[in-house]
Amino acid sequence: MQFGGVVAVDNLSLEVNENEIVSLIGPNGAGKTTAFNVITGVYAPTNGAVYFKDKMIACNYPKGPMKKIYAGQNYGKYTTTVKKTPDQITKLNVARTFQNIRLFKDLTAFENVLIAKHMRSKANWLSATLCLNYKEEQKMQKEALELLDILGLMDVKDEIASSLPYGQQRHLEIARALATEPELLLLDEPAAGMNPQETQELTEFIHDIRSKFNLTIFMIEHHMDLVMEISDRIYVLDFGKLIASGVPEEIQNNQQVIEAYLGVPDDDEE
Amino acid sequence: GENGGSANGDKVIKVGVFEPLTGENGGGGFQEVLGIRYANKVYPTVDINGETYKIELVEVDNKSDKTEAVSAAQSLIASGVKVVLGSYGSGVSIAAGDFFADAQIPAIGASCTNPQVTLGNDYYFRVCFLDPFQGTVMANYAYQEGAKTAAVITQLGDDYSSGLGSYFVDAFKSLAGENAIVSEEQFQTNQTDFKAILTNVKAANPDVIFAPSSIATAPLIIKQARELGITAKIMAGDTWENSSIIENAGEHAEGVVLSTFYDEADPATEEAASFVKGFKEYLKENNQSEIIPAVSALGYDAYLVALEAIKQAQSTDSVAIRDALAKVEIDGVTGHISFDENGDAKKDMAFIKVIKNGAFEFLKTVTVQ
């Protein structure tokens, strides 16, 4: 994936297996969010393909002016173009959260979750307007409430999203993503802006939802405590290139990763 | 009751003045209103069955806009007027006509020349001649003056301008041949740049240019034409008889020819003679230029017609007034007025004027059958 001349993600190959928790880490600007954006259809890759459950969901090769400036590898390997819009990808059961929280700010927490249920609604606009989908509507509301309950947001369900404390907004974002009934959940820095205490709670929470909803989780995070504790496997990205991958212990001791990302462990442990 | 008296016990009959005071035709509308107001000043009362009624003018501004016109008309109807005068600009009259008819209130147009105003409307009358007549008059005049080719410039979406323009085209073609119209140009409401149009006109090199349009656009067309070096004679309809055009276009306006309803230098009737004297004073009081616009004279006449109809009807009932109107005959400022079955004044004479030395100068009268 590249923007003009800037190669944001350079020939990245990785895989996430069912029911795993995989983390993607790397210095700022390494291209992690960009990778997410390619997976969820926000950007089309410049060259390469993305498969979900063995089905190609995105594929592209350099075209037009990109032919000239393309700066990656595997030129000519991909020859088809598959472009799915983000909503189509969500329909395929891939959901995400955003690095900068993107809730529907002026709507209530309940509405935020309910909206995510819309995609699965079978009613057309006319029958929905004329309230002919009464049963389905009831079901949607019930499920939304259940989700809020599971995420501990029941008592703030009628609050406007932007008035919630930061931590609850993060939870709400996850609740909203879960409401789309995903199999794969992409979390972009879920612990950003949380203090260590809250981060720890989040760790448990992510474990919980994985087993409860039978999820596969792919996550970007900078909080190493969280990453090391939770991940089954870790990929490390630097300047768009994969520099390491493996289980947490391997990564922690990988010299290249330490240099590029972790830094010399100050006496971080107390 | 309904015809109620004012506080001091006088009986009052209300007459609506339905005119544009703002918007595109605000200028002309105002002059028509002045004529009506002056008439009201001269004849403030009417006797009905031995009782003296004060005539109260109820003015509304229709803003030269058809949408506004509907609510303006409604507000007149609501205020209980028995007869309505106006409006300058045919479009608004057409729009409001059905409402007056529904409310059974007769309306008397002063200067709205489009045939549609009175056609099929039993309650609309008018004291001026019609566009087909006016168009023919101007075409005849141009042809008589030796013009072989003509260009026509009209305003899109304006009943008056495009109507008059097409009547001219028809008449001129029948006189000078099918190819006599060498250029037909149209412009949009509010357009102020006529250079492109005029460049085409210049290229077509006509003998005369006929450009019926509003007061606001007239000086623009005249000045820009002269600036482009067009020397053809410019002609237009009644709206152009307005001193503001001379003020705005200055020396460029010299030689412009137009047709109109009335000539102050040639008072046709007794009424006219006294009107000319009195109204000049009145114009001065109102800080207006002292050239009497034809529309003021027509406004005055419309008032007189209404007054006469009320007298004839001897009633304040609007339907009775309408019936009286159909039969009214008076000698107004602009000549003898009576109505045909359509409600149009039977007028067969137009005055042709030319702008000379910064004033409108009478050229000739034209009669067409």
Binding site: D87, K105, H118 | G157
Partner: protein, 374 residues
Amino acid sequence: MKTSKKVIYSLILAVITLAFLFLLESNKAKYGMAYTVLTKGIILAVVAVSMNLVTGFTGLFSLGQAGFMAIGAYVTAIFLIPMNSIEEVYYMSGVSPSILALKSWLETTPSWFQAMLPYIALIAGGLVAALFAALIGIPVLRLKSDYLAIATLGFSEIIRAIISSPQMDTITNGSYGLKKIQGFSSLIQVFLIAAVCIAFMILLIRSTYGRAFKAIREDEIAAEAMGINLFKHKSMSFIIGSFFAAVSGGMLAMFMRSIDAKTFTVSLTYDILLIVVIGGIGSVTGSILSSILVTVCKEWWLRFFDNPLYIGNFQVPLFRTGFRMVIFSVVLLLVVLFYQRGLMGRNEFSWDRLAKSINKLRSKSSSKGGSKIA
């Protein structure tokens, strides 16, 4: 407040409204002005709510209302010009054979169909506009915010130019406009048509589709990530909004009895936008309230500013023609400055809210105002 109580209150309100309308209807002559102004206000309420649906709830800043209203008005008008007036209306350039064919076919329809003609005409106008909206939407809805606004405004002007062009003379009567259009039979009829339209839009807004619209308004990227197809939902809102704008345009034609393309200029769109913002973007009741208030103020209550005012023999200065509009603009400005979010903000009228504010007035506590988000 209990639901049963609310229902009772609502019923009472409906009865009062209807009674009031009947009163106006039966004293039409006496309350002519109120009658007219109210009719116009109600008609504008329909288009205001439709604009609110598109702009306030879906976040699509569209300024095409006037164009769709024009389509609605012309289609409705063509249906509703009586057969025997048609030659007279198209006196300049004649009638197109297809219109004549349509009209003569309508003549042959059964009488119940003819009785329904006003409704059929309005719906036909709406459908034609909806078709246009669907076509226009394909290219235009990809644009964002102000670019969308100017593009829709452009389309509305293009529609107007086409309608008034000489090439359309035999269909739209070009620049002369149409007249002799059959009017409404009563104020109640106007009210009921408007009520059905607005109720439909309210229900739509409250349905799951309405929520999807709001999601798009709040954050397109997040909405897309929630599986909401942006184009589909935007078009839906745009098309439905255009449909009702056209219905309102048709009603305007029936109200004015004569129309021409100049009625549907950009300023009409601005006026509607003004109504929507004054009422509160994202509040249906706000739009309804403000269309009636703005119309009444502009055309009726402020009218006395236009006439010279005498107190005794003293003529109050400033009062003359044109003053009304000066005052109207100043009032507008003041309303916008002091009610930045419009009269209703994003809130809707509800009995609970009313009760709350009455209580607040009663107790008139010393605290100043309180929060905006109640």
